[in-house]
Structure formats: C-alpha cells, structure tokens
Symmetry: C2
Subunit: 272 residues, 2 copies
C-alpha cells in the first residue's frame, strides 16, 4: 500500500455528517468473533465527536459501552455536545443500527495548558521492538491483520503465570498515530482470561475507557513508531474480569491509560 | 443517630420517580468546593438506574462525567435503559438543573453467574484500622463529615513522595454498604496532586468510573466494616492527572476498581 491510498483504519472509521447524524458502515475487514473489533468501534465513536461541527478542544477521555454486537451493515451515530464550558466539552453518543442502539459512549474534550508535570507510573524495561518477533495468531480474526503486535510477555502461548502482558504494537500497514488510532490500540490486547487460562473462552467487552494523557503534538510526533502496551487484570469473578492498561512511547512518554470490563464464560471447573 | 433515622447519604441520594424522570435535590451537607462531592453525584446517578422500573440485574460498571457544578437546588435525572439483553442492560443518564445538563453517565447492569474465579491484584499489607487514627482535615469541606477515613499513607501532610494513598474508610455515621455507597467511597481519596505537591491547588474531576467486582451478597455481608482504599496516579500533565484505585474488604476481597481524570490548576513553577 502506498500512502496515497486510504488506510483500512480510515476506511473503517469514515463518517459522513448529514447535519444531524453521522453515517458509517461496519466493515467485515475489522470484524471480531461476534461483532466488530471493539477498538474500531471506540475509534469511530471518538471520530464522530472529533468531526462534530461544534467540537472544541481535543480528546481527554472516552468511555464506550458495547450494548449489542453491530452487524456488517450501515449505522448512524448520534453525537450530542450536551455541555460546552470554557475549557471542557462533554459529548453523549449512540450508535444505532436498524433503529436499535448497539453502542453508547461519552467523550470529554478539553483545552490543555502548560502545567506542572510529572509521570508517576514506571515504564517497564523490555527488549527493543527489533528483538521481539511479530505475533502470529494461530487462527487470526479479520481485525488482527491491521495490527502489528510483538508479544514480549503474557500471551495464551507462553509460560507467564500472571495476567500481565507487554507488547510492542502499531497499525499495519504503517499509519501516523492520532487519538482515534491510539484508542483502538488500547483494545488490541489478548483477553486477560486467555493469558491466565492459556486457552480461549467466550468473552465480550462490556465497557471500555481511554484517558488521553498526551497532547496532540506529542502524539503526532510519534508518527508510525511502535508503542509499548501494558495490560493487567485485577480480578476474574462471576463471569466478568477487568483490564487496566497503559500505552507508552519508546522514549518513555505515557500516552494513555485504558480500562475495560469484560464478560467471560469460564466454568468453575477447568474444562470448557 | 439511631438506625431508625434516615442516614444523610440516603437523604442526599433520595429520588422520586414521576413515571418519566427522577427528581432529587443537591444537599448543602454534601457540598464540596464548587459543586457537590462527586461521589454523592455518582451514587445518585447509580441510584436512578437501580430504581428504574425496568432495571434488570445488578450494577457492573458506572461512568459519570461532571459537565458543570450542580447548585444546591432541585434536579431531575433522565435515566434511559437504552438496551436490555438477556444478561446485561445499558443505561444512559443525564442530570439536569434549570434545563441544562450538569452531569452525564452510563451504567451497565448485569446478571452474575458462578465462574472460574481468581484475584490477581495484591492487597497491600497495612496496619489494622484500630492502629491508625482518624484523619481530620484542617479545613474540612461539608461532605467530609460523612466519611470516617484513617489515612495510612499518602496525604498532603506526610512525607510520602509518591502519589499512592492507602486508607481505611467507611460511611460516618455507620451505614450498611451497598453499591451506591461503594461508588461514593471510590471518590473519597485526597486528590493525587495534593499528595504529590503537599499542598492544595484548584482541581475538578472531569470523569469518574467504577467497576463493581463483587456480588451484592458479598457487599451486603460487609455491613458497616471499614474498607481499604488504594489510590495511585500515573501522570500529571498539561492541566490534568489521573487516579486509579481499588477498594478491598478487610478479609481480602477486591470489591471495586475505580479511575478518574481530574483537571488541575498547577503552574509550571512551584508557586501557586
């Protein structure tokens, strides 16, 4: 692919505004098991807010709730800037297919100003990207072809016992980073329960959040660099587990934190 | 106070449903600096979903966005169960004062079923509640009188250098725990920036989330026990910082995780 072509990510998140709602289409290229890859849905919701004619500022936070699996078909997004203040703006969003809401979201935009600055979290010490092979899923799902992931530790195929994953990751083919791509990258981790049980079980993300901790200039400066993703779990219980993650640039800038709560079908006994 | 009286928390989160919207009132007793204590607002939004006549299941996740400070005055909450599935239900909520939206939220409810279970996070080793004195803020805000907090480490007044706080906490006066109270407790931590700078600066929570990781029976069983709260920050940058927290029972059950993104006015120089 040359850079003159449209990147599949931009194709999958393309929206047309009719003055009232945004119109887009779920693409088979980004499908997961029983719905679109959650990251592409999150990126599309964020994009609707970004494209809104009344949008002010830049993304600060995004929460996306996966209410039902969207089909490979057109959809509409209702993106409402419900409150605009001097330095923040709040959006409430819904994705609708066949008159039914399939996804809800809230997004906060705002103005960033210079301030006292400090990074408290520690970037893990990991081998450089060139030292880690690309991960190839044994039975890849359609969306996975658009992500280049080097699994440093914590997959369903290694002997790591905890549920912590480190991975280098970027869009494939190469695409300059922006907030929407960063949001989608936050959802590329193998489900924590696979890492823990070393096998797949039926899962589905219920709710997903991203806090953007870096400014647009910093994000743009990273271009097509591989980013370090960190994902942990705190608890697996009664059909749900959580994920808490971080995304770092190679030079140690914490770009985003992310959380999600995920449904799992994992019987009490070890057997599936 | 005897248990026959209404607890201030229940008074502050009381809602009346008119068949369409919920009606309540911001109480001066739970005010913060320039708006209500965020925890009481979050609890009130959750309560609206809990009280909805079409509600199914129990709380799984809550995200609350603070769009504008509510005044000490009546409000309405629009709580819409936008999608009800076999085992999950999604709410979109707005709190309205004088025709303007002051708070937005999404809540996910669901059915919990027995499953494989594992707690991955580690509960910190801390002194028991009886060994830690109650924290008394030098200039307490109204809402603080309703929380009994024992600050184990990480305040604006100790020599802890990182932004991590451990505290024992419960409602004051005693009140049996439920999801709404647990959500509010997730917002009782001193702002991370105070812990780091050892002085207050103007702050305001932008967005706040709670994932409920324990079932209602477990929560009810805890009664009026003090809970262990853990709060960390990952980054302070360009006018915003985050908080990631956990709430544990004394016997080591992880009850909830919580995140928030907070606006701060902290100049580049050390001076305010």
């Amino acid at each position: 692919m040359s850079f003159s072509e449209v990147h599949p990510f931009d194709d999958a998140t393309r929206l047309v505004f009719d003055g009232e709602r945004f119109h887009g289409e779920v693409k088979p290229e980004y499908y997961n098991m029983v719905g679109p890859f959650g990251g592409i849905t999150a990126a599309t919701m964020l994009r609707a807010a970004e494209l809104h004619p009344r949008r002010l500022g830049e993304p600060l936070a995004l929460t996306v709730n996966f209410a039902a699996p969207a089909r490979v078909a057109p959809f509409e997004i209702d993106a409402v800037p419900v409150r605009t203040n001097r330095s923040t703006q709040h959006f409430t969003l819904s994705m609708i297919q066949d008159g039914e809401i399939v996804t809800t979201a809230t997004a906060v935009f705002g103005v960033r100003r210079e301030s006292w600055s400090h990074t408290e979290a520690q970037m893990p010490v990991v081998p450089p990207p060139g030292a880690v092979p690309r991960f190839q899923a044994p039975t890849p799902l359609p969306w996975m072809q658009w992500y280049h992931v080097r699994l440093i530790r914590g997959s369903a195929f290694d002997d790591v016992e905890d549920a912590t994953t480190y991975q280098w990751m970027r869009d494939e083919p190469l695409r300059p980073l922006d907030h929407a791509a960063l949001a989608a990258l936050c959802d590329t981790f193998v489900p924590r329960v696979y890492v823990k049980l070393k096998r797949p079980v039926p899962i589905g993300t219920v709710t997903f959040s991203v806090y953007f901790l870096a400014d647009p200039n910093t994000i743009a400066r990273l271009g097509t660099n591989e980013l370090l993703g960190v994902a942990r779990a705190t608890r697996f219980h009664q059909g749900y587990f959580d994920q808490i993650g971080e995304v770092w640039s190679q030079d140690g800038v914490l770009l985003a934190t992310t959380t999600q709560l995920v449904y799992m079908k994992a019987p009490v006994s070890g057997s599936s």
